[in-house]
Every structure is written in C-alpha cells, then in structure tokens.
Subunit: 312 residues, 2 copies
C-alpha cells in the first residue's frame, strides 16, 4: 500500500475543488455564496453496519455521498461540496481505493459538488468512512422536520420500502429477479433540487424507516400521524415481493432516502409542480395527539414488531 | 446502552448551538459571518491508532477538538463550531459517553465553539471518532503551508517533541516524573487566536513531526530548509529525557500541535508581538533546493531512521 500522502495525491487531489487547495493545506477555504445561509450535515458509513465487506467500493462511495445529499434535500439546500474521512485496515488495497475514488468522481459530476478536504488514516478495525456535506439556502428558507401542523397532509416522494427489501435480497432472503430492489438499496436517489420552501411546512428524508421518521416529525411538532398502509406507494418489484412480512419491512425498513413531507391543505398541486417528474403521493394526515398510527385496508390499526431500522 | 436518540438527547443536545437546531433536524443551518470566508477541516481519532483503549474519554474528546482547532490555527482562522461523528462498539457504555461529552463541553467553553450537528452509530469494530471544525477568516487572509520564500526564517512556537516523549512515557518506555510530557501528549494546546496574517508567509501545525511537516512546507514552496537541532526549543522535562534517541524522537515525533512558520526577514519582532506570551523561536531558514536538512551542533547533517510519525 502506498503511503498516505501518495494516496491523497493519486486518488483524492484530482477530486478537489479550488476550495480544497489541492488537499495540500491544513484546511479548506470557502467563500460562502453571498447572502445565503449554509447547511451542514455529516453521516458515517461503517463496514458491517452500513455496508457489507464485499460491496463494490464505488457504490459505497456514492451511497456515502447520497445519504448526506438526502439530508441536504430534506433541508431544501443546494449542495456545494464535502469533506471526507476514510480509515482503512491494512488488508484494503489500491483496487478498493481506485474504485472508491471513481465512485466519488461519478457522483461529484451528477450532483455538481467538489471535494473540499478530508482526513485519511489507517484503521486497526474495520473500514470507517464519513462525509460532511455543505450546501446553501436562502436566509430563513431551510426546511425543518419539526414544522408540521394539524391538518397538514402527509406526502412521500417515489416508492417506499424498496431498499429494505433490496437488503433482504442481498442477504439471500428474497428473490429480486429484476435487480431493482438491490439497486435501490445500493444506490439511493437523493431528492435534491426541489423548490419546496413555501410549499411544505416540514420535511424529513426517510432514512430510518417510514414509521420511525414519521414519528420524528410527530414528536418535533407535538402531533400524531394517521397513514393508510394501502396508500403508501409501492414499486412493481416490491409489490411482487408480497405478503404481510414484506409490508412491515417496507413500512419500517430504512434506507429509502425519499422525502416525507407535511403539506398544508390546498398545497398539493403546488407540491406536484415543485416535484416535476418525481411522483409524490398523499398517504395520510397530521392531527392532534401523539404517535404514528398505520391503518390497514379495513381501517384497523396495524401493529409492528419494531418501529424502525437500526442498520444491519 | 440507551438507544441512539436518547443518547443524543442526553449527552449531545445540551452541547448544540442554535445552528444545531437541538440536533433534531437533518442538518445544521449556519449564517456565515458577513464578509468572512469559512475555513473547514476534518480529523479522525481512531482507537489503537490515535488513542489507546484505556485513555480517559474526556481527554480523547478534547484532543479530537484540539487537533482540528490546531488546523484552524495554522490557517489563521477563528473557530466557530463543529460537527461530530461517533461510532461505538457494544462494550462501550454510558460512563464513556458521559466522560466524552463532558470533555467536549469543557473545551467548547475554552475555545468558544458550539456543536452544530453530528452522526452517532454503533460499530462492529473499534471506537471511531471524527470532528469537522468550521472557522472564519477575513477574505484572502487564510494562511497557507505553501507560501514560504527563500530567505524566510523558520520559526516554531512553544517547545517541540514533548508529546512524542509523552507517548513513550505512556507506553512505559520513558520516565516522566512530573507528568508534563504525558499531559502534552494527551492534551495539546492549539495555538488559535494569533493575528499572523501579514506577518508570516506560510504556516503549518506540527502534527506529523517537525521534520516531516517542514518537508511539507518545502515541497509546497519548492524550497529546502536548513535547521539547527540545537536551536529547536526543548522543555525542561524533555531535556531531562536526554540522549540521541530522545533527540530523534523530539524532531520526528508527532502530536506537538505547535505552529511552524515561515517568517520574512525583519518580521521577527512583529511575530513576537503577535504571539504575546507564547514563545516563538527561530530554528533555521528556507533556501533554494529541496528537502529538510538538520544540522547538529558541529554543523554536520543529521540522519534519521524515519522522517516522520505515522501514529501508533
């Protein structure tokens, strides 16, 4: 394995924006966009917690960025760039680093972000990664997960539960003939770039599972949520993996990175316009009270063995 | 062990500035100081690489912040706040978290910084930590490690080599009757708050070892450096741990977090004025050529078995 400085020069310096100063300085220098507020978030990805040892390093890199980009999306922020930490045990070689940095490069282009800086270290344990993403919003326009009001509709983007079923498929517990569910688990689509300020009253990304993340919104707003399981949008591949267990996995499984939104009455059309080609679906309503209530097609309250997902 | 959300609420939410939104949102929102540029840096601390399993968690927390604060100091930046990642294996309990968060709280007060956000996870390996520090500078005033010019003096703050000897003491290989060296290893003093812009032409913090970090400055500027070992400032405790091996450890050992500065001729007094009570010492000069040349008291070139320090 090459030393830390050679590795940085070879794999990471080509990814750096001018803010990163060629990754040869002690820190990055960023001139914030004039008159904008900055939005900052950090997420880790750890071997055997967030990814499996044999996973493709390019997909690990891209998911690391996308999980954080999804947090920026939930705040209504425009992504700018990121800082990276990477800690690799001795057994991880140049091939892994080459794939990882190629994954970063690919998503940097797609999402128009640059590497600002980072820290590389050896690890005496497993692979440990983190990214700190920086974005910007108009002053006061950052969305919050805590702003829902009684009477707001509960909407979600895309389809829910694909990634959790995809994880089951990757573990050999579920058939995924099209590979769609697996792809949704390995490479989520962060919903960045939507003009949601003034349209929604609260937003969160579905990372821990629909029920649990909806619970966060309820707690933050001092409200309850009632949703109908039958309204939660399902992909064709997920529908094929049918059954009550699959339904619970879909509603409580993590890693969707869709947006869960509180939308005031009368704003549904504005929401659809803001989301363009991305489908959005109303699945329920916020009301007084506490907790998340999921109704089945008969209108009865469903019970789950666990509210959310705590990784592998 | 309590769950992730209870832990965040109990140990970390009290540390959050208003930018952190009580740590209940997807990201932090920061209004940058008007007209200032931001300086961003990230460093990891990993069990068995940067700290030992039995180390005091409060000191680990404080060193994590201070290593990053030292990077801000080397850029001439004023610290604002930080984001944190923390990954703990199952065996690490509430006592550790309580100590760790108390350490953060203590240094937040000392350095006037706040927690902006973070990510907490379980780990299937060892303890893994990182902090992303955010500071600010006047536009164009950020220092660089790459700006040295031929004829600039090479200056250092404080004393050099204490932390490397302190690590030897912690490993039982060296006597440290006063505990001074051990303390310098566990709790470095980042040299933040010095008005160095316009006084120095380049700056770096000594984290990898004096010789190696001086090598970074040389490479960045396309110059060589000549220093005299006998001029490198030594603490009384380090002087007591005498001998040629201790000298090499002092000059090549890491973790000092003193500043290494390129100072144009005639700026020595201005440097001393900017540093106030912090002693600064001229140890050599940048000149044409390449590489770092360390001369002993007889004026002969010293050879080292390793140029720098790559952690434990």
């Amino acid at each position: 394995m090459s030393d830390e400085f050679s590795r940085i020069a070879k794999y990471f310096a080509p990814l750096a924006g001018e803010e990163g100063r060629g990754l040869t300085d002690d820190a990055a220098v960023l001139a914030p966009p004039p008159g904008r507020e900055l939005v900052l978030t950090v997420d880790q990805m750890l071997e055997d917690v967030h990814f499996l040892p044999g996973d493709d390093p390019a997909l690990i890199a891209r998911k690391l960025l996308r999980r954080n980009l999804s947090d920026l999306a939930a705040m209504g922020a425009v992504p700018l760039g990121y800082l990276l930490t990477i800690a690799l045990p001795d057994g991880v070689g140049e091939d892994w680093l080459a794939g990882f940095s190629q994954g970063l490069a690919r998503d940097q282009k797609i999402f128009n972000i640059k590497l600002f800086g980072g820290d590389s270290s050896s690890s005496r344990g497993k692979i440990s990664l983190s990214a700190t993403l920086i974005g910007h919003v108009a002053p006061g326009a950052a969305l919050s997960r805590n702003g829902a009001r009684a009477g707001d509709g509960i909407w979600v983007s895309g389809t829910i539960g694909d990634a959790a079923l995809g994880l089951q498929a990757r573990l050999g517990r579920l058939a995924d003939p099209s590979g769609f569910l697996t792809a949704r688990s390995l490479l989520p689509e962060p919903r960045v770039g939507l003009a949601l300020a003034g349209v929604v009253s609260a937003a969160i990304d579905v990372s821990d599972g629909l029920v649990q993340d909806l619970g966060h919104m309820c707690k933050g707003a001092g409200l309850s949520a009632v949703i109908r399981a039958g309204l939660v949008p399902v992909s064709a591949a997920a529908a094929a993996a049918s059954g009550e267990a699959a339904l619970e996995t879909r509603l409580t499984g993590g890693d969707d990175y869709e947006l869960l939104l509180a939308v005031p009455p009368g704003q549904g059309e504005a929401l659809k316009a803001a989301c363009g080609d991305l489908p959005v679906t109303k699945i329920g309503m916020f009301q007084a009270g506490a907790g998340v209530h999921v109704l089945n097609d008969a209108g009865a309250m469903m019970q789950f063995t666990r509210p959310g997902w705590r990784h592998f």
